[in-house]
Symmetry: C2
Subunit: 427 residues, 2 copies
């Protein structure tokens, strides 16, 4: 594993712990925990940011949910997979039940990310466009392969792990903005582990789980491009393309928010003087986020109207701006109603344009080609540390973010990666 | 619930226990049990035919696998859903953790079957043809609704249960003939329970989990017909259409086997004198079962070539004929190689024709419009009792089939349906 890949893996893990600590007391996590607790096994593994311990499968399920619940986790451009949520929780839960070195965990993590993103590439963009929640549908392969790598599976057994993952892949875009989304993300982490353990046990699978006529790629995709799975494997790393969000909302809204934040300093701008606002973007932007009426913070995270309103009104787009209280704020409600989303098929999915017409008739507009946090403008290591500190405080776990940050940066020197989890739980 | 529906529910449960008892020591069940055991919670619920006890979710997972592992379970014509495997295990596991009367369980069972089959109707035939393992993909809705009914969910919460089920739906035809199939069937039972508990807890879901633009029907189906979900609900029962297999193999092969068994008594027939055999059927028959080379009993269950060979050679098509030993039998191997499958788009999926050319040049042929066990020729109550006795002996659980049969027939009088499970475990 090249040094750059190892460093990016640690950046991804910092961002993973940041968002899991931020989300660990969200209501969806509370519900999920209350659902599985009566059925959970021995307390083998930690639930990030909390004091409960669960069996490793359920811990992975919960930690995947926490890390993804605000959609504030990492994003692989092109596929819009959140790579860490299915993979990291599986590996840390595993590391609490069997000895893994930090180097082994980092290697398995990078391979899991590679596998899920490359499978995602093969079925993109049609797969997500049809309505598949790609983080869940492809994430289960990442969790399976990462876990299988740590179990030492090779050849036929690794293939069986992929087959067992294919049998468990699922998750629908229709659930985004509701808590049901979290179930498929949690399942991706959990069921990937099941897939690897099943293959290890000898549970057989199909010979061609991905490329068979009724295998994953043909059933979940249209005209899959298999070369995108294997081309340059081990030379070109998808893991190096991972990006981290400055805003806790759908990635397609980030350019919109950057445009709004920039527009606030335009001469003549005042939020009271806005007559109307038009957001222009790739048709997928409208499909995913044209939601003028939202009633919960969760739904607001995939609403262009809400994101524009809070960014213009408050000059920020943090977790507070996506709270239920922010959604009910009368000023936000009023401004949301002035926002229209227009499709422009000539624009890329990374770009967005925001046009504001003031009561005076003056027009302000801002085009953003790629948002902050995207591939061109990545968050720095210091940004990621700050994000972890902010979210650890937001999530009220009481864990010491400094110790956790240090442990992630030095993970490759650890002889027992599972011990890191003691720094990520409630004190 | 009409009396006829209640009676059919009991017939379905007899067949369910029969196939679960037959499958309870299959290698796929052993693997699945060894995978989940280290993570399982308190021994709340029974594993059919065995002595282990697991938490209710894992018990449902295992019992769904046992009942479906040989593909010897019930079949809803048209959708080819195996209705009981996802629903019955969820309800009996639930009944071991909270008091349910026999009447409540039977009612919830019939409703769960109704829901999964009607959702299946709405997306058939395109859904299965594309490659979805419909028992798993639709079964999770049956388990969710059956469990939700017992939890007393109504209105919005029932809708959330459907949404949580939609987020967990999955399963691929490519896995048929391998043990990985069992994971998706087990998940359907388990995850349907999770969906109901999640909705009960307050975990929200989409407003239109089935009919939304990126909901289940549009993403998993093509041009879904929603009227097939709701038309005649409560008047016409899909549960009454349930059928039970006399042979432990893919339902599409049953007419083929009936034809072969009939051909054995044709004048001039002798298995040594066979030059070649042609099986003609609907194109789906070929897609699913044209497997000339098989290496395991499991794979043989979806092989037309193997089914023809054993039926013609032995005059039977029971579990013994689908064992690994039968697959390796030199006479079977030799005869399989003489079988060709031909598509005939004018034939229905229920029908099949087998044409045998003898070395003498003589042709024998037999057309079967619908197989024994199908809607026109249902197994009798006595047939189902005999099937349960046979499979209980085959599975070597040592349970007393007579007591279990009596308990199923009198289930509506039980004040504690969970107690029945004590009669279905290993002694």
């Amino acid at each position: 594993m090249p040094t750059a890949v190892q460093h990016e893996a640690k950046r991804s893990l910092l961002n993973f712990f940041a968002t899991a600590l931020g989300g660990c007391r969200d209501i969806a996590v509370e519900h999920a925990l209350s659902v599985v607790s009566p059925f959970a096994g021995a307390g083998q593994a930690s639930v990030i940011g909390r004091h409960e311990r669960l069996d490793a499968l359920n811990a992975a399920f919960l930690n995947a949910i926490s890390s993804n619940v605000f959609d504030f986790d990492d994003t692989h451009p092109g596929t819009v997979i959140h790579p860490s949520a299915p993979v990291a929780p599986a590996l840390f839960a595993l590391a609490e039940t069997r000895r893994l070195t930090g180097r082994e965990l980092l290697h398995a993590f990078a391979l899991g990310v590679e596998v899920e993103c490359r499978i995602g590439n093969a079925v993109s963009p049609g797969h997500y466009a049809r309505g598949w929640h790609i983080t869940s549908t492809c994430g289960v392969f990442g969790s399976a392969v990462a876990t299988a790598k740590c179990l030492g599976l090779r050849g036929e057994q690794m293939l069986w792990a992929l087959g067992a993952a294919s049998a468990q892949s699922g998750g629908l875009i229709e659930t985004l903005g509701t808590m049901a989304k979290s179930l498929s993300v949690g399942n991706a982490a959990r069921n990937g582990m099941i897939a690897a353990f099943a293959a290890h046990s000898g549970l057989t699978g199909p010979e061609m789980p991905l490329e068979g006529p009724r295998g994953f790629a043909h059933v979940f995709g249209t005209n899959p491009d298999f070369s995108r799975i294997s081309a340059g494997l081990g030379e070109r790393w998808e893991a190096l393309r991972n990006t981290y969000k400055p805003y806790p909302c759908g990635i397609v809204l980030h350019a919109v928010i950057d445009a709004c934040l920039a527009l606030r300093s335009s001469p003549g701008f005042s939020s009271e003087n806005i007559e109307s606002i038009v957001v222009r973007g790739h048709p997928l932007l409208g499909q995913r986020t044209n939601r003028p009426s939202v009633t919960t913070g969760r739904e607001a995270q995939v609403s262009a109207q809400h994101s524009v309103a809070v960014a213009l009104l408050t000059g920020a787009a943090g977790l507070e701006q996506y709270s239920d209280a922010a959604v009910r704020d009368p000023a936000v409600v009023a401004l949301r109603q002035k926002v229209q989303v227009q499709d422009d098929a000539t624009m890329t999915i990374e770009a967005a344009e925001v046009l504001i017409t003031l009561h005076t008739g003056q027009d302000l507009n801002r085009f953003v080609e790629q948002a902050r946090g995207g591939e061109q403008y990545p968050l720095s290591d210091a940004d990621l540390e700050a994000k972890l500190r902010d979210l650890a405080a937001f999530g009220k776990s009481g864990c010491d973010p400094g110790l956790l940050i240090d442990a992630v940066w030095s993970l490759e020197t650890s002889t027992d990666a599972g011990r890191l989890m003691a720094l990520a739980v409630a004190r």
